[in-house]
Amino acid sequence: MTLLDVRGLSASYGKVQALFDCSFSVGDGEFVALLGANGAGKTTMLRALSGIARSSGTISFDGQRLDARPPEERLRLGIAHVPQGRGTFAEFTVDENLSLGAITLSDAAQVRRDKERWYQTFPRLRERRNRLAGNLSGGEQQMLAVARALMSRPKLLMCDEPSLGLAPAITAEIFEIFKDLHKRHRMTLLVVEQNADLTLQFADTAFVIETGHIVATSPAHEMLHNQDIQKSYLGV
């Protein structure tokens, strides 16, 4: 079943167009990688989907049209966005950051239960729940950003360059968590990455985006072994 269906999506910043007529779909429970070089339009794609960047074209999500809706409503419908560079609030504690993730929800008891649930998935965050987020390591902040996004009870979790500035071992740990979310919690994931090799090992499907166009789509394991794509677009 298709969860997200994007048709003819274009986006621009003023006169500079960043996405050209992109179409793709993401199935329910699928782990999708969005790959591409610097400036290809990956971040813009996520921003257009979450409604922070303006776009034209149609976006259908879970049977509903999203394109005219503001970010807040899209989040309520189940699209969570972990922005690039994490963006945890430095002067808030870990626990407060998680509370911020749930501001679209009103059931306090449910929010508390959700917190406990994600503290189980991210035990490091539980240990540091009363620390200021600004005092966490980069990897912990990334985990916090992901957990915070999960607090909104999304159907689709979009994560922008989770590996940015992290040591390979920590990056691998984050991807193990994605795998766990995907397999155990049946979460649909859309992950933007420059680290193609690692991402392709975990994802089901991969899209390659270049200068605002989607130029390749294939199952992740095929792309992992496709020398042409790797050479032409991913610079491996």
């Binding site: 979450s50 922070i52 503001p70 970010p71 807040e72 989040l75 309520r76 966005h81 922005p83 963006g87 609030f89 430095a90 002067e91 808030f92 504690t93 407060e96 509370s99 911020l100 993730g101 501001i103 679209t104 009363n130 620390r131 200021l132 915070r148 996004a149 909104s152």
Partner: protein, 337 residues
Amino acid sequence: MNSRSLPTFIKVGAAAIALIAPVFLPDFLLFEVCIALSYSIAVLGLNLLMGFAGQICLAQGALFGFGAYVTAYLNAEFGLSPYWTLPAAAVLTAAAGLAVGLPALRLQGLQLAIITFGIAAAFPQALLKFDWLTGGVSGLPIDSLETPAPFAGRPELWLYLVTVACAGVAVLLVSLVLFGDTGRTLRAQRDNAQIAEALGVNLTKVRLWAFGISSALAGLGGGVFAILNGFISPQSFLAAVSINIVIASIVGGTTTITGAFIGGLFIVFVPTWTSDINLALGNVIYGLALIGVMMISGNGVVGLVKKLVCGMLQTTSGNVPSLKSIQGRKQWIALRK
């Protein structure tokens, strides 16, 4: 004495002094304190808007004046008791604030500052222009409050209590807004608007709410100011008042509630004291005092006190503020700054 009880101890002490001291203060001084409190209510609103929501507004003095005129007009024209004009002043000023805020909030930072300052600059002129409504240069009178029998001998004391009650309502309102999710949302959109938006914060709505509440408090403060004076004219609401309110906010500490009161007292008393020192050099000394406060403590007087309290605790007992308490965290933040 642990790190948590000291600030509470200070607050309780200050509240006790606030309640007992007026009995012994001379009438004129008590009146000045009341005026300072009326400004403090507007400053408190600005702290919410500028300190917690991160929106610079230089029209707080104009909104303060708007509230004062609502009070005076309702009293002079419709004979409404001054008591009842206060909630009306708050509500109508909130509406006026929203009318300003709705278009202005499309802009941010310095642009918003300039637009709101334009309003502050135009306000006294507009008061003169609409003289059929505002009385023009001659201003509007306000009936004095009906004083209950026990205070008949000293109506100033009753005025003081009414002013304190209004300030209390303002503190309660701001505390409620800052408590829990709403407060977090405000601070989150201030610290990083884009991320907050990604988390589902409706930026326009949150900022408008902050603007509305801040304006309501400006209006309430203005209403109190009008009642205290018994007479208002455009002369009391020049653009400088808006700047003074911003100064009060910054001197006290923009992200504090206590700071609003310190700031209010500062802008009323310090200029008088400095001109007492030397009439000709009054403004110079006042200016130096402002520079001094900012150099000693970037986060206002309250920030400075926190820093000192924190330092004292560390040197006397080696007690490092606990990050588990909110107070302890505030101290850490104050220390880092």
